[in-house]
């Protein structure tokens, strides 16, 4: 299969970060990068990875199916990963789920008819103090409200995405001046 040069270069960088006799260690980061480049990891890509890394197909498939972020099917243009863990639920994520389902017209695991959005409920994304939170592809969005959600989704629909909350806003005392 045709592997993009960018991915080949990236794979060399990844291999370089491990001792030369530990090529196998590149497996997870390489799959991650391959997915980023190609959208998902197809059987062809599995073969390429097995060959490049020097491991068996069984091993590649084991690792691929183990990690929940690695995909064998292409996600649609915008993968909405919506947290439904305790802190987010305490902050109203369940109501918001109903809102996002209505807004997109799809349920967990489904893709919108226009092929733009895939919705997936996921476990803790580590944004508990800024709950509820979600990721859209690689962008993080916090303190979601129905209004903010609408704006974000419209932003992606119109090609003018709402800037993500990067860096994570400082909440709590870590951003405050030190009171002596």
């Amino acid at each position: 299969m045709d592997i993009p040069d960018t991915l080949v270069r990236k794979s060399e960088e990844i291999f370089f970060s491990f001792p030369p006799e530990r090529r196998e260690s590149a497996l997870v980061p390489l799959m991650f990068e391959a997915q980023r480049e190609l959208g998902c990891i197809t059987p062809d890509t599995e073969h390429w990875i097995a060959e490049t890394v020097g491991v068996s197909l069984v091993k590649v498939r084991e690792v691929l199916t183990f990690y929940s972020m690695l995909r064998r099917e292409r996600a649609e243009k915008f993968l909405v990963q919506f947290c439904r863990n305790i802190s987010c639920c305490l902050a109203g994520a369940e109501d918001l789920q109903r809102h996002v389902e209505k807004k997109l017209g799809i349920r967990n695991g489904e893709t919108t008819a226009d092929g733009l959005f895939t919705l997936r409920y996921v476990e803790c994304l580590g944004g508990c103090s800024w709950a509820p939170m979600m990721l859209v592809n690689e962008m993080q969005y916090y303190q979601l409200t129905p209004e903010k959600l609408d704006r974000i989704i419209e932003g992606f629909r119109s090609g003018r995405p709402v800037p993500p909350d990067e860096p994570t806003p400082l909440l709590g005392n870590v951003g405050e001046k030190i009171a002596v």
């Binding site: 183990f66 690689e138 909440l171 709590g172």
Partner: protein
């Protein structure tokens, strides 16, 4: 620097502009402590860290200095793994360190690597942390370009390389041996113990120190202010402050850096501004979702240090405090919690693989009003059958909260069971 409002030792530069950039960070003293440490003997560094009372902030609370001391003599190469797989529900403090002061972490990891004479550092960041990963990668590149990382660091003759490791969405990779397996290119199945410590047999079978981001980020500060001073910011058994991740039903959720041992009420009411919408406090999960739930009464005089929380029947864990108000249904909380563990069980050993899904099924049935009278006892018994029977701590991580929810809020479950 200590007050009821906070001890900003680790996070003191977070709010200052440009702290994630090396040039700016250098003006504020970044890597000065590395220089100081490189002038010390490696074992002196370990001694200082041991004396500082620094304990692991990832969950287990193990003495960092002792861990470093477990590295066997004469076995090389050695490695340091930074555990940035922050995934324990409720925990969100490491991401701030990664995003706001990555050089502090790199500096701490380098000092640790110097102390144990490691030749490589891997910073294993969870896959969902796209933005923090970019920041850390840039910081590593900057530090390498300036000679803080790589060959012959600062002319010391000592070389140490820093690389990024990548998670791909599996809670279990935060377990230190699961993390190592993942770094080796495998499924993140935690390793069977013994051997007990990666410090002896770790990455690629070699001595490896696995420490949490926050733990290592404290290290430059310990070198800076000395062990004694650091110890004074915590309790005699746990030196220094702790980053508390506060979430749930409070007015001001956020990450708070406070002395270890601070009263829970200070955190919830003084820092967090009290319970949302003037509601009453029902319960607190004090140390991430894996910890036993504490009732409002149990929280009354609770101090947030390892020993006090254990004495109260729970654990400090990753200091992720989830506040639960009177309107929250504990059976619903049970579903959120068990759903997480059912999803995150790695599948390696039987009780957890088969049991977590079963717990979720029973919890869901009860919540949906389809529960049978015996379901509650079954739920408890199944949790008991998982607890302590597994290879890693995930078993007890689901068993403890399950049992405590039932024991302490049994009436809420019974009210949902029709029969």
């Amino acid at each position: 620097m200590t007050s009821s409002n906070g001890t900003r030792l680790l996070s003191r530069n977070f709010a200052l502009p440009g702290q994630a950039n090396l040039d700016t960070a250098l003006k504020r003293g970044a890597y000065e402590m590395l220089k100081r440490a490189l002038k010390m003997k490696p074992e002196e560094v370990t001694t200082v860290v041991k004396a500082s009372g620094l304990r692991g902030h990832g969950g287990a609370g193990f003495s960092a200095g002792m861990k470093w001391g477990f590295v066997p003599k004469d076995v090389f190469p050695r490695y340091v793994c930074v555990n940035a797989d922050e995934s324990e529900p409720g925990t969100c403090k490491d991401r701030l360190i990664l995003e706001y002061d990555p050089h502090l972490l790199i500096e701490g990891a380098l000092i640790c690597a110097w102390a144990v004479q490691a030749e490589r550092i891997y910073i294993y960041v969870r896959g969902e942390y796209f933005y923090p990963t970019r920041i850390v990668q840039r910081a590593i590149d900057e530090a390498r370009a300036k000679g803080f990382v790589g060959e012959n660091i600062l002319g010391s003759g000592w070389s140490c390389h820093v690389h990024l490791g990548t998670g791909a969405g599996q809670y279990i990779c935060g377990e230190e041996t699961g993390l190592i397996e993942s770094l080796e290119g495998k499924k993140g199945w935690p390793r069977l113990k013994p051997p007990f410590y990666p410090a002896a047999v770790g990455l690629w079978g070699k001595p490896t120190i696995v420490n949490n981001v926050e733990t290592l980020a404290f290290v430059p500060r310990i070198i800076e202010i000395g062990a004694e001073k650091f110890l004074s910011y915590g309790t005699p058994k746990a030196g220094g402050p702790t980053l508390f991740s506060l979430s749930g039903s409070v007015n001001r959720p956020g990450v708070y850096e406070l002395p270890t041992g601070v009263p829970l009420k200070t955190l919830i009411y003084d820092c967090g501004g009290g319970i949302k919408d003037g509601r009453r406090l029902k319960a607190v999960i004090p140390g991430g979702s894996s910890s036993h739930i504490l009732t409002a009464e149990e929280c009354e005089n609770l101090k947030m240090d390892f020993e006090s929380v254990v004495a109260a029947g729970s654990m400090l864990g990753s200091a992720a405090v989830m506040v639960i108000d009177e309107t929250v249904s504990i059976p619903r909380l049970m579903v959120w919690m068990t759903r997480f563990y059912a999803h995150e069980s790695c599948g390696q050993c039987t009780p957890c693989r088969e049991g977590t899904g079963w717990l979720l099924r029973l919890a869901t049935r009860i919540l949906e009003g389809r529960g049978r009278r015996r379901d509650l006892d079954d739920l408890y018994e199944l949790a008991e059958n998982i607890d302590g029977k597994t290879i890693c701590a995930l078993g007890q991580a689901v068993a403890w909260p399950t049992k405590s929810y039932i024991t302490k809020f049994r009436h809420e479950f019974e009210a949902l069971i029709q029969e």
